[in-house]
């Protein structure tokens, strides 16, 4: 089971649209795919027409009184399931940090009992059921995002081509480098790019030269991507031949694992 997370400290950078479209393409490739909408705003759940509600709320999931398995909903697309958002996720930091949410160290897995490994631990039982998991994280630096960083194999970071975004990417890279043990691989990509703006052109060109971990595909700022909230579906589902769909396909071909020889 390969775990991807779309993450940025800033909001409104195309994180959820990336998670929805990449998860859709992963399922279309034949992988059993799960998208966990961790953002209490529930945008990914909305885009799949699924109510942002989990029985017992985030507390039941984090405490383990309800399993993730029981909260999963099938989307309208083959092999793609969604674990919906819930408004109680806004308190997830508190839930993750609270005593009593940890595994008992006497029964092994002391490492997973630590608050920062809780999400990784919760996902473990799904390994037989899914090939790929996407975590759509809320924008912030918190115990939730730290959990996600520890659970993830590939951290997908959307970047709007501005100087400040580039600086944020550097901070994130340093932060991940400070981890002991497992470190996610960082794959950034430019999002909401407007080729008419010279600043966008300059920053993308410079950063591609400096950082090989930035994907060559840039997702342009297109009204069709904004239209997802009207169509309530991934762009590749309602406009498969569009420029937007082709851009996400190209990005996914850079990010997905290389096919077995």
């Amino acid at each position: 089971m390969k775990i991807y997370a779309t993450y940025n400290i800033k909001g409104g950078v195309g994180k959820t649209t990336a998670a929805v479209n990449l998860a859709y393409l992963s399922a279309a490739d034949g992988d059993r795919t799960l998208l966990w909408d961790l953002d209490p705003q529930g945008a990914a759940s909305f885009l799949f027409r699924i109510k942002p509600r989990v029985k017992g709320g985030g507390q039941a999931l984090i405490r383990g009184t309800k399993t993730l398995d029981g909260a999963i909903k099938g989307t309208d697309f083959d092999r793609l399931d969604l674990l919906p958002a819930d408004f109680t996720y806004r308190n997830m930091d508190l839930l993750l940090g609270r005593k009593g949410t940890h595994s008992d160290p006497k029964h092994g897995e002391p490492k997973h009992g630590e608050p920062i490994h809780r999400i990784a631990h919760l996902l473990q039982p799904l390994a037989g059921e899914y090939d790929t998991v996407f975590l759509d994280c809320p924008p912030s630096i918190s115990l939730v995002s730290e959990n996600v960083l520890h659970a993830t194999d590939i951290l997908v970071v959307p970047l709007i081509p501005t100087t400040l975004s580039v600086r944020t990417l550097d901070q994130l890279t340093d932060f991940v480098a400070s981890f002991n043990g497992h470190r996610p691989q960082i794959r950034a990509f430019f999002s909401m790019v407007d080729r008419r703006k010279s600043l966008h052109r300059e920053i993308t060109t410079d950063l591609w030269k400096q950082r090989p971990d930035v994907a060559q595909t840039a997702i342009p700022a297109l009204s069709l991507i904004e239209r997802m909230s009207i169509e309530r579906a991934p762009v590749s589902a309602f406009a498969p031949r569009s420029q937007a769909s082709r851009a996400y396909q190209s990005l996914w071909s850079e990010l997905r694992p290389a096919p077995a020889p």
Partner: protein
Amino acid sequence: MAPGLQEYVLGGGDETGGAALRDALEPAFSVVEDRGSAGARRLTWLDTFDWRLYRAGLVLAHEQARRAGRLLLTASDGTPVAEQSAPAAQPRRPTLELPAGPVWDRIASLVSPRALLPMARAVSTASVTRLLNADGKVVARLVTDAARVSAAGCEVDLPVRLAIAEVRGYPGQARRAARLLAEAPGVSAATQSTFAAALQASVAVASLLLRLLDTLEQNTDGVLRDIDTEFLHDLRVSVRRTRSAIKLLGDVLPADLADQYAAEFKWLGDLTTPTRDFDVYLLGFDSMAASLVAASPADLEPFRAFLARRRAREFRRLAAALSSPRFRTVTEHWRKALVEVRDARPPRKTKSSPNRPPTAADLAVSRTERAHRRIVTQGRAIDQNSAPESLHNLRKRGKELRYLLEFFAPLHDPVAYRKVVSDLKQLQDVLGEFQDSEVQREELHALADAILAERAAPAATLLAMGELAAHLAESQAEARADFSRRFTAFASPAGLQRFTTLLGRADQ
């Protein structure tokens, strides 16, 4: 068919039915046809001649769609069990094994040593309709499947089958859709008919014997073509059951019919014994050879070759008899006589004979009770000093009771039936072990004499056969020691009470 909560069939044709389904579902859902979903599949259902998979609650199909082949194993309710890829070409010949894979792993022990035969073919066109909630989300799917099936030389359009497929996380919506579907005009649940308890006894017995004759005739061709060993086994079982039914229930048939055919079926039974005996040896040969301690399995190889030669000789005799005019006459005349009984008009009630004729349920109770009483009496008389014949006779009585239970199984309460059959089976197993060991040991001696006379094998083979005989004597002694424990359980107050409960219910 996709897995669903419950399958339904749609009468009255696809065109009018489609609108009725939409009308039924639209109050609760938006109904949208999934245009990309329709597709034709060619299906070939595979099973053994005696439907082992079907009886184990499994369905195996080879599916050819978009020039690729797959083997799909599902439970009878459509739940997927295993799947493996397969050549695209539809299977046409009997096969003793499938390519290695998850499907074969699951069924190998179940079907072996029987061959898998193509039982029926179909071209099926499935289409999917999406059922949406108020948010436009797919919460269930209606799967319709129209199939044209060909089997045994006929082609039939099956009624359109319908199922509601659940979307994960929306079980309530799927149940709701299934409920609305069940109430739609022209839709009925896919179910099967049952046996009528009120059937007149003679009609029920004639129908039963006709079914056994069907089985016998269905297996004859497989025996003659020597497809696998189980055709002969099943043919023998149908003969044995026919003989028991004639003996235990034949008196309700018209005068002399039972007596006349009892001898013919004995001839048929005896005819098949030698070939089957050699089959049993050859099927169990490897495990028998593996049980050797002093001798080596290789020592037994000349014995295997000897058995195969003898089997071929006996099979030629059997095939000649099954192709003979006598066999044809027996089966044809027997069928004609039974059909006459089955289709005869029921006797009318008159003032001189006001009693109704006995029913199948009456017969089930009286004969099953009698057979059970006989076992209990004979079994109680057996002790440590009884001759082996007394156990052999008890085994025969056990088989008779088992057949009676099976003949009338549809009349019994399924739970009570299972308990009684389970008690009886335990007793039968130990009696079977006792007698089979003895018979095989005697045969082994006779075969050793024959091998010696023909100089067909070296001394090492005879020594290995001696070791086999010793194993058999050991199993027989163990079975004998086990008998009293098993019988005490069978005839215990609890066991007797289970039997009374069974017959009490059959009588209602």
